[in-house]
């Protein structure tokens, strides 16, 4: 119950939103980045991981489960536990990161371009449209879809939901260079 442990040290900020993504660097490994913003898109917190590299043995032993394990538990779960500000929900632009939902109490949803969502996949056909994008809540959160949509309708007045991921990538790119 990593999330529950973290709550006691976390602060509640009205209208905070989390953005979670990873960047795969061929030379360094897999970085994770987690940005929490306010209703105007201004940054409140940012966390990023050191790069994760897996060995050949690990690739073999984990097999097809490696991707989800890395993204979901190791990176996503770790990052979501680090935030001291509790967001209303967390958005990600990468489907494997949805597996982080098992390691946090925070609602988690995938943001995709509508045309991508039409393709086959676990999230195909699910979710709702918002600001020209499709938001697909994790199965755990689909019952709260209406509430999530209300939260996001306030955010999209100021923020393009894809845009904060660009900032995270820029910050991770900066971290690699320095």
């Amino acid at each position: 119950m990593v999330g529950a442990m973290a709550i006691s040290t976390q602060q509640h900020v009205e209208n905070a939103y989390g953005f979670l993504t990873t960047v795969d660097s061929p030379s360094h490994g897999l970085f994770g980045g987690y940005l929490i913003v306010d209703l105007e898109g201004r940054p409140l917190e940012f966390h990023c991981t050191a790069p994760v590299r897996v060995s050949r043995a690990q690739q073999i032993l984990y097999g097809a489960t490696l991707h989800g394990h890395l993204h979901g538990r190791q990176i996503g779960g770790t990052l979501l536990a680090e935030g001291s500000v509790v967001p209303r929900l967390v958005l990600t632009d990468q489907e494997p990161l949805l597996q982080a939902r098992s390691h946090t109490h925070l609602p988690l949803a995938l943001v995709t371009a509508s045309r991508d969502q039409e393709q086959a996949g676990p999230t195909a056909g699910a979710g709702f449209s918002l600001g020209g994008l499709t938001v697909v809540p994790h199965t755990t959160d689909r019952a709260d879809e209406t509430v999530l949509r209300e939260h996001l309708e306030g955010l999209i007045q100021a923020v393009d939901l894809n845009e904060p991921f660009e900032r995270i990538r820029a910050a991770i790119d900066e971290a690699q260079r320095h």
Binding site: P43, T49, A50, A57, T78, D160
Partner: protein
Amino acid sequence: MQSWRAAEVVLPATAILAGIECRLPTPQALRLPIGVSRPAVTAVPLFVARPAVERFLFSGQAAAPPPSRPPVRPLTAAPSPAAEASPAAVGPAVRRRTRIAPPRDVVKRSERFFFLLQPDLETILETSRLEFPRQPFPFQFDGMAFLVPRHAAVLADEMGLGKSMQAISSLRLLIRSGEARRVLVVCPKGLVSNWARELADWAPELVVAVIEGDQRRRQWQWSLPDVPVKLANYEVVVRDRDLVAEMGLEFDLVVLDEAQRIKNRDSQTSQSVRALRRGRSWALTGTPVENSADDIVGLFEFVAPGHLNGRMSPRELGAAAADHVLRRTKDKVLKDMPPRLNRDERIELTAEQRETYRQAEEEGVLRLSGLGQQATIQHVFELVLRLKQICNFDTATGESAKLDRLEAELEEIHASGKKSLVFSQWVATLGRLRERLARFGAIEYHGGMSTVARDECLHRFKNDSRHGVLLLSYGAGAVGLNLQFSQYVFLFDRWWNPAVEDQAINRAHRIGAAGAVTVTRYLSVDTIEERIDEVLRSKRDLSDTILSQAEPPASGGLTAEEIFALFRLSPPRRAAA
């Protein structure tokens, strides 16, 4: 008993040995590291933003009349005509995002992240609910993104691209975010009312105090505690240098307009602005390099003291200054700008003018030759000015080939209802032009007029269709004025460097110009004016060289040799040194 280690004994499993005790070692468990350890997490602390400043009150100033400002209106950005014309541009999918990038001198990682993780500038402006009277151009957003994170910056856009608007919008953002609470804008005296208007236009919510009047009044104005923007001219800053120091005033940001004023670091003006205690230093100038590379060194003594020095080559200067200087030219950023049509009109002097000119030049050159080693540049200047005056008007008869041509051209322009600007370096010339061009409603604008008279003159020229011609001196009229409703510019006589001429031309050819601007430069054939023109072309190359970080041509500014060479003379040895 004999013992063997397992490695020494190979026993078939089925073999049974009697009488030999054999002990096989316990096989060790093979541990494969399959757990992927959790990565270390780096928490990046961000700055705690200051609260937004939305209103400024006078407090503790019983005698001070509260400045009247309109209440803050609900603020939304005005729609862009370009956006309306191309609907695809307004959709979020194609929306332009201007990022605020950390300057190179920001090295601390948390500070660099602070900039990288901000929303784009367009979002910041929208969420800050800052209103613009007109939608900024994309390059102006770039200019704001350049200025906002910088403590040391030179905005060197070509004249007419809206440097003041970019500076005002940027300081507005800093004030709104709490990063600046006390800003000082310093400008030439003739532009104070211009700046006050621009601040009211582009930052209507900001309270602005103009530092002017007698000393007592100025002292009170300097001391006003809750006025975020103070506006003063260079002369006031010089005059009140000690007063400001005694009061211990500090500014979060000082903005210098027409900053080429401080290029001479030994001047009182330069020393006085450098003495201002400040956090950020921004300089606005369309001519960071007017005459020589020393100009930009002098500028940087204010912007970033010690960052440049006179021993650097132009290439080194360019490289060192690169992250602090932003310069755009119209042809690069304003594809839709109405064109500027340049015409060099070569004018033959009248017979009388030619004779007067010939005599004056012969006598003058003879006199210079006679002076020998005693000849100075001042002597040469005097001769040059005398000859230029003859190119304008014959000193004996008053004839003027240039004025004849100008009058003929203005006939047609005035008939079409268009307005013209005419520049000269002499106020006396303006007076003579006004008499001859009275039927076009010509009015004068020069430094000898009071500020009130100049403002009145501009108002009449802009609003009264009877006044089709404005006669300006380069000194007063070339700087900062917005006259973009004029479509014709005449340079009756030329200035010493192209930068000032460009400033003059850009009074009309600037953002907001309704149509193409035609610039006519008069050159008297086979006179000193043609020779000066050649030198001016080479000086334009110098400015381009430094700002493009290329290698310079052999000669830089107007050297003593070049000045004497105007009359095919060699300079005296001491003048050449």
